[in-house]
């Protein structure tokens, strides 16, 4: 079947390991994909400049939710400075697939939300994930 729906993606979509919220948290940010209304919230706990705990919540397509789960998994233990350096290629590597411009937005939503939260911005913008 379709590459886009590699088992790993379907698996992370159906049985995400990091879905949920953190309370208390140090950083929490949420935004939408304007094209389809997909929504992602990411909560972080930070110790000593490093992500100690992370969760995501929201709704959307398999790509957006699986990439959020994979992303959140990958940032636990990372320093905030390293998180700021993450870009679109990191997400594509996590997913292990190629994407056209529209689906790419689904995949990048979680990274946009994460970086906007870490930078303390008012809005998640495309410029964060170039």
């Amino acid at each position: 079947m379709d590459d886009l729906y590699r088992e790993v993606i379907i698996e992370h979509y159906k049985n995400p390991s990091y879905r949920g919220k953190l309370d208390p948290h140090d950083i929490s940010f949420a935004d939408n994909n304007p094209l389809c209304g997909d929504h992602i919230q990411i909560d972080l706990r930070v110790d000593d400049g490093k992500v100690s705990e992370a969760r995501f919540d929201g709704h959307g397509c398999a790509i957006s939710q699986a990439s959020a789960d994979l992303l959140v998994e990958s940032v636990i233990g990372k320093s905030l400075e390293d998180v700021k350096k993450m870009n679109r290629q990191d997400i594509l590597d996590l997913l292990g697939i190629e994407l056209g411009p529209v689906r790419l937005k689904c995949a990048l939503l979680s990274l946009k939300v994460l970086k906007a939260g870490v930078y303390g911005l008012g809005e998640a913008s495309d410029a964060l994930v170039e």
């Binding site: 886009l4 729906y5 389809c36 209304g37 997909d38 398999a62 689906r103």
Partner: protein
């Protein structure tokens, strides 16, 4: 008269497109934008190869030809919607700009704080956001005709809203999500009785139904060429002459003026008053060719064909366990089937269908509040036009069964 689909499909080169080796496109996304027949593509092609010049102000042969072609297209469009005069047809970029034009000119000149504007819950963002902006700027009030669970307008509530003497009623003729064809003539008559001006978002109706502005007695009507076999980059606003004449101009610049001094100007007459700068000339020519094509088939014939396909599609879709179609029954709607499926996100449905070349749309279709009303973030939408076939519907159904397998 029935429509010869296989002959029609030969006029649309893109329908032979293989989107993957051996996989032909099954285009079920005409509500987003229609495909274009050769006659439209060639009309623009020829324009650029033979006649292209700027219009209205040139006396050479190319300018005379271009001007004549641009204005003849306007006449064709006017006739197509039965406008009393071509001067009442203003070229815009699209439906969205047409509605914004009314909001920036008529509405800003006529609405003040506290005035009531009635919309509906099934509006496209292009008939919501311009009024949100006006409400924020001017303090006008917005009220909404509710949508019933069947996807129809709740006309009882409309009646009670009318008692509050609205200044404007702006609504869609046909929903791009539910397919619902609203009783426009009736809604407009009641609005007029209450003293309100009316705007009809005809983006989805003019391409698919015979629409007669005089019969509807509508004050303003907005539509887009790209949804009715024409090019991108051009749309139209129809308006009643007295309203258009009394309105201030919208964009300022060349062609919309009668006279310019260093510190003042006098606006031009209709329709030029609202067409500032070099317009979409080649696109107007293409728009005219699209109208010619639709006329050559006949709007009644097209509507009947779409009805047949839609009826068949709804029947087949509703057989699928876990699939829910939104909107009214086939007799009350145009060629649109929006659905949710078994917890699979619409993006994923669309993506898996795409593997077999089946092009549908997934998302909120620029109608977020309507989706919110139904408690869902998004739907999958298949839509039909004169070139759609039952065979394509069958492929859609097969595809949906594949989706089930992947998400098993």
């Amino acid at each position: 008269m029935s429509l010869d689909v296989s002959r029609i499909r030969q006029d649309f080169p893109i329908l032979n497109r293989e989107v993957r080796p051996g996989v032909k496109v099954v285009y079920l996304d005409s509500t987003a934008t229609s495909q274009k027949p050769l006659s439209v593509i060639e009309a623009m092609n020829d324009f650029y190869r033979r006649s292209n010049a700027n219009i209205h102000r040139g006396v050479h042969v190319l300018a005379e030809e271009s001007t004549a072609m641009y204005e003849q297209a306007r006449e064709k469009i006017a006739k197509f919607i039965n406008a009393p005069s071509a001067r009442q047809v203003i070229y815009t970029r699209n439906t969205t700009e047409s509605i914004n034009l009314v909001a920036y000119t008529w509405a800003r000149a006529n609405l003040k704080r506290g005035d009531l504007v009635i919309l509906t819950e099934m509006e496209h963002h292009s008939n919501l956001v311009p009024w949100h902006m006006l409400a924020a700027e001017r303090g006008i009030q917005l009220e909404f005709i509710p949508v019933t669970d069947d996807g129809l307008l709740d006309l009882g509530t409309y009646k009670s809203l009318l008692a509050r003497t609205p200044k404007l009623v702006s609504f869609t003729h046909m929903s791009n999500v539910l397919g619902t064809i609203n009783p426009a003539a009736d809604i407009i008559r009641r609005a007029h009785d209450a003293g309100a001006v009316t705007v009809l978002d005809a983006a989805q109706s003019v391409p698919h139904l015979k629409v007669d502005v005089q019969q509807l007695d509508v004050d303003f009507m907005a539509f887009s060429a790209h949804k009715m076999l024409g090019p991108t980059g051009i749309g139209a606003l129809y308006g009643k002459t007295a309203l258009l004449e009394a309105m201030p101009p919208f964009l300022g610049g060349g062609d919309m003026i009668k006279e310019v001094k260093l510190r003042s100007f006098r606006p031009n007459e209709l329709p030029y008053k609202f067409e500032a700068g070099t317009p979409a000339i080649a696109e107007a020519v293409g728009f005219g060719a699209a109208v010619d094509y639709l006329n050559s088939i006949g709007m009644e014939t097209i509507a009947a064909h779409e009805h047949e396909i839609t009826e068949y599609a709804l029947e087949r879709l509703e057989e699928i366990p876990g699939l829910k179609v939104f909107g009214p029954t086939a007799d009350k709607k145009g060629g649109v089937a929006s659905f949710t499926f078994d917890g699979v996100h619409p993006h994923d449905v669309a993506q898996i269908l795409d593997q077999d070349g089946i092009a549908i749309r997934a998302g909120h279709h620029c109608a977020q509040p309507l989706h919110e009303k139904f408690g869902i973030p998004a739907t999958s939408r298949a839509s039909f036009y004169l070139y759609s076939t039952k065979d394509e519907v069958d492929k859609l159904i097969e595809g949906i069964y594949k989706v089930k397998k992947v998400f098993g």
